[in-house]
C-alpha cells in the first residue's frame, strides 16, 4: 500500500508533535526534580540559618597542635579543593604559615622560639574594605551584607587582578582543570572549572543550613572561633576583649576580619 498525501501529512504532523511536546513540557516536569549541587541549602527553613551582620573569626593559635591539618583537610574536602602536588598550580583556601610570614612587621629573632616555629592557620580575611572586590572588572567577587567576601565562579573571567590586589595571598587560580585532582568529589558543593580564581567563602553554604564553618567544627582544640562582630554578646567578642590580638597587615586599611590571639 502506498500512503496517500493525506496519510503522509498526518504521520508527519504526529511525528513533529511528538518531537516538540517533550521539549515544551519538560521544564514543567523537571521543576520538582531539578537538583543542583549545593542547592540543598535553598530548602532549609530560614529559622535554622546562622545570621550575622559581620562574620569574623578569631584564631587562638596557641591552642594549635603541631603538625595538625584537621581544619585544612576538612575545608578542602568539603569544598572540592584539588591537590595538584606542586606549588605552582597549588590551590588552597586555608593553610599554615610561619609567624614571620604572617606578621612581618611584628616579627623579630628574639620572639619565643615556639612562636617562630609554629605554623599558624591563614585564610581569606573577609576584609570589611576588600581590595579584591574593588578591582574585579566583572563584579564576580563581591561583599555580602553579612561581610562575607564571595565569588561567582561562573562570572569570573580569570584576569587575576584580584590576586594582584589581595595583600594576603589568599586567592588561587585554577591554572588547569581541577576536577581530575579532587580525590573525593563532594556532590553538595560545586567543583570549579579551569581558568577561574577561587578562595575561602567562610562556608556560606553551611551557614544557611545553620552549621558553623568546616574548619571551625573540625578543630578539636577549639582554636578557631567564628562569630558575629556586631553582636556584643558573641563568644568571639568576649574572647577578643579578654586577650590581646592582631590582624594581618592592618595598616593597609583593608579592615581584615580574622583576629589572631597572641
Amino acid at each position: 500500500m502506498t500512503p496517500n498525501r493525506r496519510d503522509f501529512l498526518k504521520i508527519a504532523g504526529m511525528s513533529t508533535l511528538s518531537l516538540i511536546a517533550p521539549a515544551i513540557l519538560r521544564p514543567a516536569f523537571a521543576k520538582e526534580k531539578l537538583s543542583i549541587p549545593g542547592a540543598k541549602t535553598n530548602q532549609t527553613s530560614s529559622s535554622q540559618q546562622l545570621k550575622g551582620k559581620r562574620w569574623a573569626m578569631a584564631v587562638d593559635f596557641a591552642k594549635c597542635r603541631r603538625g595538625c591539618v584537621d581544619c585544612i583537610a576538612a575545608c578542602h574536602e568539603v569544598h572540592n579543593v584539588p591537590q595538584f602536588g606542586n606549588p605552582k598550580d597549588e590551590i588552597k583556601w586555608i593553610w599554615r604559615e610561619k609567624f614571620a610570614a604572617i606578621f612581618p612587621s611584628e616579627s623579630h629573632p628574639y620572639l619565643p622560639e615556639s612562636l617562630q616555629r609554629q605554623g599558624i592557620p591563614v585564610l581569606c580575611n573577609h576584609c570589611a574594605n576588600p581590595p579584591c572586590v574593588k578591582v574585579c572588572p566583572t563584579k564576580a567577587t563581591f561583599k555580602r551584607a553579612d561581610g562575607i567576601v564571595i565569588m561567582d565562579y561562573h562570572r569570573c573571567i580569570g584576569c587575576r587582578f584580584c590576586m594582584a590586589a589581595c595583600p594576603y595571598g589568599a586567592r588561587s587560580m585554577n591554572y588547569r582543570d581541577p576536577r581530575p585532582f579532587i580525590s573525593k568529589i563532594n556532590p553538595d558543593f560545586p567543583t570549579r572549572t579551569k581558568g577561574v580564581v577561587e578562595k575561602c567563602n567562610f562556608c556560606e553554604e553551611r551557614l544557611v543550613q545553620g552549621i558553623l564553618p568546616a574548619c571551625v567544627t573540625a578543630c578539636k582544640e577549639k582554636a578557631l572561633v567564628f562569630g558575629d562582630m556586631e553582636d556584643p554578646k558573641a563568644e568571639i567578642r568576649l574572647l577578643l576583649s579578654k586577650h590581646f590580638n592582631l590582624r594581618r597587615r592592618a595598616h593597609l586599611g583593608t579592615e581584615p576580619q580574622i583576629y589572631y590571639i597572641v
Partner: protein, 385 residues
C-alpha cells in the same frame, strides 16, 4: 586605499610570510593553552601575572607615544613632523591591538570576556583601561586614515578631524596613566604603590615609542624609498633623549626612596631586581643590562655629533627600546609579586609555549603595522610621482 597593501617587492612579501608564520605558530600554542589552561605558562600562585601583562603594559607606552608627533605638529605647527604624524598614529593603532590581544590571551576564561561590558564595574581600573584603550584605537585609526586619504586626493582634511586630533593628545596621556593606576592603587603591592608610577610610565613611553619610530623611519628610507627628512628624525632623537633622561631620573628617585628610606617591604623588591633576594637573582643580569644600555644610549643621544651619525643613532634607539623593554616588559610586572605578600620568593620564568604566544601577538601587531605602513608609503610615492 587598502589595495595598496597588496603590491610590494619580493622582500615585502617574504617579510609578510614570515610574520604570518610566527602569528600562526602563536595561534597553535594558544590553542594548546585554551585546552590545558594558563598552567601552560610559567605563571604561578605567587607570580600570577607574567610576560603577557608585562607586554601589554609596555605596548600601552608605545601606543601613547604617537602624541609626541601629533602634539608638536598640530599644537605648535612644527612642519617637519607633517609628513610622519600618520606613521605615529598607525604605530599607535597596531600597538593598541597588541595590547588588547595580550590582555585577552592572559584571561583564564576568554569566552567570558564580554562580562566586562555585561557587568561593568566602574570601581575597577581594568574597566576604565578597556574604555580608554578602545577609544584611543578608534581615534587613531580614524584620524590616521582620513588624513592619509585626503593627502592622496590632495585636499585638506575635513574640519571635523581637527578636534579629534586635539582630543587624541590628552587621550594618549590617559591611556598610560590609567594603565599605571592598575598597579599604583594596590595597597598590598609596595613595589607598585607609588605615585610616580604614571609619570614613570609616560617618560619611558615617550622614549621607547619615538625610538622605535626613528628605527622605522630609517628602515622605510633604506628599503621603501620614503624619507622622513633629517630634521624630523633629529627632532625625534632629541625627544627620545629628554624622555629617556626623565625616565632614568624617575627610576633613580624610586631607588633613593627605597634604599635610603629603607622600608623593608619597599626595599625588598628593588633588592630582588638589582642584587637578588635570598639567592634568587633571575632578573639581575637583565636589569643591569637595561641600566647600561640606558646610560649608554643617553650619552649617545645627548652628544650632537654622535646623534647626527645614522648608525650611532640606530644603535642608540635600539638600546633605548631594549632597555625600556627590559624595565617594563620584563622587570616591572613580575617584581611586584616577588617577594609575595607572605614573604615567599617564587621566581618566574616564561615557558616555551608562553613565549611562542607572546611572539605571535607581536608578529600579528607588526603584520598590521607593515600593511598600514605599506599603504602609507604607496600614497606618499603616488604624491611624488
Amino acid at each position: 586605499m587598502l589595495e595598496k597593501a597588496l603590491r610590494g617587492s619580493r622582500g615585502y612579501w617574504m617579510w609578510i610570510i614570515f610574520l604570518v608564520a610566527v602569528t600562526a605558530n602563536g595561534f597553535f600554542f594558544y590553542w594548546q593553552q585554551l585546552n590545558y589552561g594558563l598552567g601552560i605558562t610559567g605563571m604561578s600562585r605567587d607570580v600570577s601575572w607574567g610576560l603577557y601583562i608585562a607586554q601589554f603594559t609596555f605596548l600601552v607606552g608605545i601606543a601613547a607615544s604617537a602624541v609626541m608627533l601629533v602634539l608638536p605638529y598640530y599644537l605648535h605647527d612644527y612642519k617637519a613632523f607633517g609628513k610622519i604624524t600618520v606613521l605615529g598614529e598607525f604605530l599607535a593603532v597596531s600597538a593598541v591591538i597588541m595590547c588588547v590581544t595580550f590582555v585577552f590571551v592572559d584571561l583564564g576564561q576568554p569566552s567570558r570576556v564580554m562580562n566586562i561590558f555585561l557587568h561593568p564595574a566602574p570601581t575597577s581600573i581594568l574597566f576604565w583601561d578597556t574604555i580608554v584603550l578602545s577609544g584611543y584605537m578608534l581615534i587613531n585609526i580614524i584620524t590616521g586614515w582620513v588624513v592619509l586619504s585626503c593627502d592622496r586626493k590632495e585636499v585638506p582634511p575635513p574640519a571635523w578631524v581637527k578636534p579629534l586630533i586635539y582630543l587624541s593628545i590628552p587621550w594618549a596621556v590617559s591611556i598610560h596613566t590609567v594603565t599605571a593606576f592598575i598597579y599604583a592603587g594596590l595597597p598590598g603591592r609596595s613595589f607598585w604603590l607609588t605615585a610616580i608610577m604614571a609619570p614613570r610610565f609616560l617618560a619611558s613611553a615617550f622614549a621607547s615609542g619615538p625610538a622605535l619610530l626613528i628605527i622605522f623611519c630609517l628602515i622605510l628610507k633604506k628599503y621603501a624609498g620614503f624619507d622622513a627628512g633629517k630634521t624630523a628624525i633629529q627632532t625625534l632623537a632629541k625627544i627620545v633623549a629628554y624622555a629617556l633622561a626623565a625616565s632614568i631620573f624617575f627610576v633613580l628617585v624610586e631607588l633613593f626612596t627605597a634604599f635610603y628610606g629603607g622600608l623593608p617591604e619597599h626595599e625588598a623588591h628593588f633588592r630582588y631586581l638589582f642584587s637578588g633576594l635570598h639567592g634568587h637573582h633571575n632578573l639581575v643580569p637583565w636589569m643591569w643590562t637595561s641600566a647600561v644600555l640606558a646610560f649608554g644610549a643617553l650619552a649617545a643621544l645627548i652628544y650632537p655629533r654622535a646623534r647626527n651619525s645614522e648608525p650611532v643613532l640606530v644603535a642608540a634607539c635600539a638600546a633605548v627600546f631594549l632597555s625600556l623593554w627590559i624595565e617594563k616588559g620584563l622587570g616591572l610586572v613580575v617584581t611586584g609579586f616577588i617577594p609575595s605578600p607572605l614573604e615567599a620568593v617564587t621566581e618566574y620564568v616564561p615557558t616555551g609555549p608562553e613565549m611562542a604566544i607572546a611572539l605571535g601577538v607581536w608578529a600579528g601587531g607588526f603584520l598590521i603595522l607593515t600593511l598600514l605602513y605599506r599603504i602609507f608609503v604607496a600614497v606618499r610615492q603616488e604624491e611624488n610621482s
